[in-house]
């Protein structure tokens, strides 16, 4: 079974440019999460989807971040415009209810 697939693996962009990350969760997992992990810290939730619905986006900086999950499967996370402080690893995860999450390998974003 393929795990959670994320792309790209690495991205370097200049500040003020847009960037997008893509996630394909495990088949059948209706819950999808985007987390951000700064260096030396634990991941922090940005947004959680139940199927197509964003049910928890309270920590998503909505002025520059947006996300979508079309047809309740793949998801994209976008930043526009990117700032230096957005440099981090962006992790996607999926889960079935009442069990552990499966994380992708993440996208390491560097904003210069």
């Amino acid at each position: 079974e393929a795990g959670v697939v994320q792309s790209p693996r690495y991205k370097i962009i200049e500040k003020k440019q847009p960037v997008a990350f893509w996630c394909n969760p495990i088949s059948g997992h209706n819950t999808l999460y985007w987390y951000r992990q700064n260096l030396g810290q634990g991941p922090e939730l940005l947004i959680r989807y139940e199927n197509e619905e964003a049910v928890d986006d309270s920590q998503l900086p909505k002025d520059r971040f947006s996300a979508e999950r079309l047809k309740g499967v793949d998801s994209t996370l976008k930043i526009q415009p990117a700032e230096l402080g957005d440099s981090a690893v962006y992790l996607c995860a999926s889960s079935l209810s009442n069990y552990g999450y499966t994380f992708g390998s993440g996208t390491r974003l560097t904003v210069v």
Partner: protein
């Protein structure tokens, strides 16, 4: 904000020794989970312990949960060099639905 706090922040041991990592949290939880993260990779789910459980085992891993003290411990027995990684505890709160909140992790180094 981080819900869990791991202790110690870093731990260095010799192969064959046991490693113990602790996690404290602040509010009532549904469950507590432990994850491992190798450098530059995504998180791997190790074990989930529910709030009504006190101890769980999985291979060389032993997790305890003390809800009265709001703390958990992860014990890795007979450590191997391949166990070198960061270990995170994450709590699913009673009031947050399906959202995991991570601590800042313990960096474990197992020397051959």
């Amino acid at each position: 904000s981080q819900q869990g706090e791991e202790d110690p922040q870093a731990l260095s041991i010799q192969e064959g020794e046991n490693a113990t990592m602790n996690c404290s949290y602040k509010t009532s939880i549904n469950n507590l989970q432990w994850y491992r993260q190798n450098s530059g990779r995504g998180l791997v789910h190790l074990i989930l312990i529910r709030s009504n459980e006190r101890e769980k085992h999985s291979g060389r891993l032993r997790v305890t949960l003390d809800t009265s003290k709001k703390s958990s411990s992860l014990l890795i027995t007979a450590s191997r060099a391949a166990d070198t990684a960061s270990y995170f505890c994450a709590t699913e709160l009673s009031t947050s639905g399906s959202r995991l909140t991570f601590g800042e992790g313990t960096q474990l180094t197992v020397n051959p």
